[in-house]
Symmetry: C2
Subunit: 336 residues, 2 copies
DNA sequence: CTGAAAGCGCTTACAG
DNA sequence: CTGAAAGCGCTTACAG
C-alpha cells in the first residue's frame, strides 16, 4: 500500500523499456499507440496498482480536477438539510468523473473564501448553492470568466441555472387549497434577498389570479426569520379568521406548529398547515404535514453534470427546471 | 482581474531583472535575501496582485494545501446539523492557514471515495467526523501513513482524537435527574457501532453506580433508528411507570415528543424528557427541552488546528477532550 | 506507431 | 546576498 506511493510514469517506462510518452498515451488513450504496447503498459499498471499523480497531471493540463462548492455561512440557513443533500448528489456525480469537491463558505458580505479558491487556481469550475437578488458571488465569478452554475434561478440569462420549479409548485399547492374551498390562506416566507422566496410568492399569487380571486395583503408575511416573529404573526392570523397557513420552509413550519401547539389550536380542524419539504423533521409529526417535495440529491447530481460538461467545453442549456411533488396529508384535511 | 491569470514567478523575475530563485525567496521568506531586493519584489507583487499558483507550489513541495473531510453518507445521519457545523469550523480554520477543504462521502461498507482522494495525492491530511467500533476509514488511513485525526473517540491510542466529553455529560445529566428524585429513567440511543453511543451509555451507568443504584436493563434501548421503533418503546415505557426519558440525539428526541403528543401525554407533568443538543429544532418547542450542548464549531476548529500541526510535523496531544453544558429546561421540571 | 524534449509554475540544494 | 540548474510527475507538439 504505502510503498507504491512513488511509482511514477518514469519508473514504468524504464521498467518496460519504453518512453514516458508511450506510457502516458497508454493511460490517457490519446494519441496513436500500438495495441500490444498499450496492453503491456496497462497490464503493468494493473499489476502494480499504479495511480497517476493527479496534481502533476493537472499542472501539465492547467486543470485541477476539483470543483468548488459554495455554501452559505449564515446562521439559520446552515441547518437546513438542503445543502447537505445537495452536497451528497454533487459529490457522488463528481467522483464518477474523477473530480473532487472543494468547499468554500461565504456570507453575503464576505466572499473572500471563494476568491481565494479561484485566485489560487484550485478549481476548474464552481457551483453556487443558492441565488440572491444581489448576488456578489455570481457577479465575481462572472468577472473571472471561470465556468460556474447556480442552484436556484437568477435574472441574468447569461448565467447557467438549475432549479426546481418553485413557482409552479407553490401555485399547485395553493390551488389545491382553493379547490377545497379554503379561502383565507396566509403565506409566511423567509428573506426576500433569496430569489426562491420571490418565486414561491409568485406561485401563490398565480393561484389566486387563476381563480380570479384577490389576495389580502395582510395575509402575506415575508422576511420572517425567527420563532418570535412567527409567534406574533400566528397570533394575528388566528384572530384574523385565517383558514390555512403555508410556510415557505420547514423551519418556519416547525415554528408555526409549535406556536399552535402552545395555544392548543387543533390542526387541521381549526387551521390547516402546509410547508415546503426538504427534511424528515416534519415527517413524523402528527398530524402529518402537507408539503411540497423536491428531489434535492437529484438536483445536486444534475447540477454537477452540467458544470462538468461546461468545463469540458460542451454546450449546456441556459436553464434547467426540475420537478416537484405535492403531497397532501392530514394537516390540510377537511372541507371536502 | 482576468488578465493577471498568467502572471508567473518567471514574469516577475524578468521584469525586475532578478532570478526566479530570488522572487521565490522573497515570497516564501525562506533563504537569505537582501532587504532591498525583497522589498522590490514584494512591492511588484502587491502592485500587480500576483497570486502564486498553489498547484505548482504543491507539486514542487509534494503538498496540496488541501485537507480531506470525510462525511458519512448514511441516510439519517446526514440530516443532523452536527456535520454541517463541524464543517464550518474546519473550513474557517483551514482558510486561515491557506488550506482548503475537500470532502469525501463514505458509508461503512464503501470507503472508495476516501481511497481515491488519498491515492490521487489530493490531500495532505484527513479528518474523520465520527468514529465507529469497526472503523474501516481509520484502519485504511492508518495503513497509508497519512496524517489524520478523528472527531470522536477510539480505542486505538495511536490515533489522534478530538472529542467532547460525552461520558461526563451524560453522567451529569443523569445525576441531575436522580438528585431531583426521579428514579425510573430510560435511555434511548442510536447505533452501537457509533462509539459515542457507548460513551453516553457509560455516563448513564456511571451516574447510577455513583449513587449506588441499580439500572433496570429494560429501561435501556439502543440501536434505535426510526420513528416506528421509538413509538413502540415509548408505549412500553409509559405502561412501565418510567418517569423520565433521555434521548441520545435530537432526532430520537423529536420522535419521542411526537409520540407523546399523539398520546396526549403531558411533559413534564406525566413524563420528563431530556436530549443531546446539536440543533435549533428543539429550541422552540414547548415545553423547552432539557439538553446537553456542545460547541460543535469549536470542535471543528480545534480539530483542524491539530491536523494542520500534524501536517507541519508538530507534536500533538493524542487525545483532546472538550467540554459541554447541561441546560436544564422545562421538560424536566418538577419533584423539587 | 514511438520517442526526445520542452513545458506546466514553482522550490531547493549547490555554487559562488 | 544571488543565480543557474535540476527536479516535482505529468502532457503534448514536433520529428521520425
Amino acid at each position: 500500500m504505502a510503498d507504491n506511493r512513488n511509482l511514477t510514469i518514469g519508473d514504468i517506462a524504464e521498467e518496460l523499456g519504453v518512453s514516458k510518452t508511450t506510457v502516458s498515451r497508454a493511460i490517457s488513450g490519446k494519441g496513436r499507440i500500438g495495441n500490444k504496447t498499450r496492453e503491456k503498459v496497462l497490464q503493468y499498471i494493473e499489476a502494480h496498482d499504479y495511480r497517476p499523480n493527479v496534481i502533476a497531471k493537472g499542472l501539465a493540463q492547467s486543470r485541477t480536477y476539483n470543483i468548488g462548492l459554495v455554501l452559505p455561512g449564515d446562521y439559520h440557513i446552515v441547518e437546513l438539510p438542503f445543502f447537505q443533500k445537495c452536497m451528497l448528489g454533487i459529490s457522488r456525480t463528481a467522483s464518477e468523473k474523477d473530480y473532487d469537491v472543494l468547499i468554500s463558505v461565504v456570507t453575503p458580505d464576505d466572499i473572500s473564501k471563494l476568491q481565494r479558491v479561484i485566485v489560487n487556481h484550485k478549481v476548474d469550475g464552481v457551483i453556487l448553492t443558492r441565488t440572491l437578488v444581489e448576488d456578489a458571488p455570481a457577479r465575481y465569478l462572472k468577472e473571472t470568466g471561470i465556468p460556474f452554475v447556480t442552484i436556484g434561478s437568477m435574472q441574468d440569462d447569461s448565467i447557467v441555472q438549475i432549479d426546481n420549479d418553485h413557482r409552479s409548485a407553490c401555485r399547485e399547492l395553493t390551488e389545491n387549497m382553493l379547490k377545497k374551498g379554503v379561502n383565507r390562506i396566509a403565506l409566511i416566507g423567509g428573506r426576500q434577498d433569496y430569489i426562491v422566496t420571490g418565486n414561491r410568492l409568485s406561485g401563490f399569487l398565480d393561484a389566486f389570479a387563476g381563480k380570479g380571486r384577490a389576495v389580502c395583503e395582510e395575509d402575506i408575511y415575508l422576511d420572517v426569520e425567527d420563532a418570535r416573529q412567527v409567534e406574533e404573526i400566528v397570533t394575528k392570523l388566528l384572530a384574523n379568521g385565517t383558514e390555512c397557513i403555508i410556510a415557505m420552509d420547514d423551519h418556519l413550519c416547525g415554528c408555526v406548529l409549535n406556536t399552535l401547539q402552545q395555544r392548543r389550536v387543533k390542526v387541521p380542524e381549526q387551521i390547516k398547515i402546509a410547508s415546503f419539504y426538504d427534511s424528515s423533521f416534519l415527517e413524523n409529526r402528527s398530524p402529518s404535514v402537507t408539503s411540497i417535495r423536491f428531489d434535492v440529491e437529484e438536483l445536486g447530481e444534475m447540477t454537477c453534470k452540467i458544470l462538468l460538461d461546461m468545463i469540458d467545453g460542451g454546450e449546456v442549456p441556459a436553464r434547467t427546471l426540475l420537478g416537484y411533488r405535492v403531497s397532501m396529508r392530514d394537516s390540510t384535511e377537511g372541507y371536502v
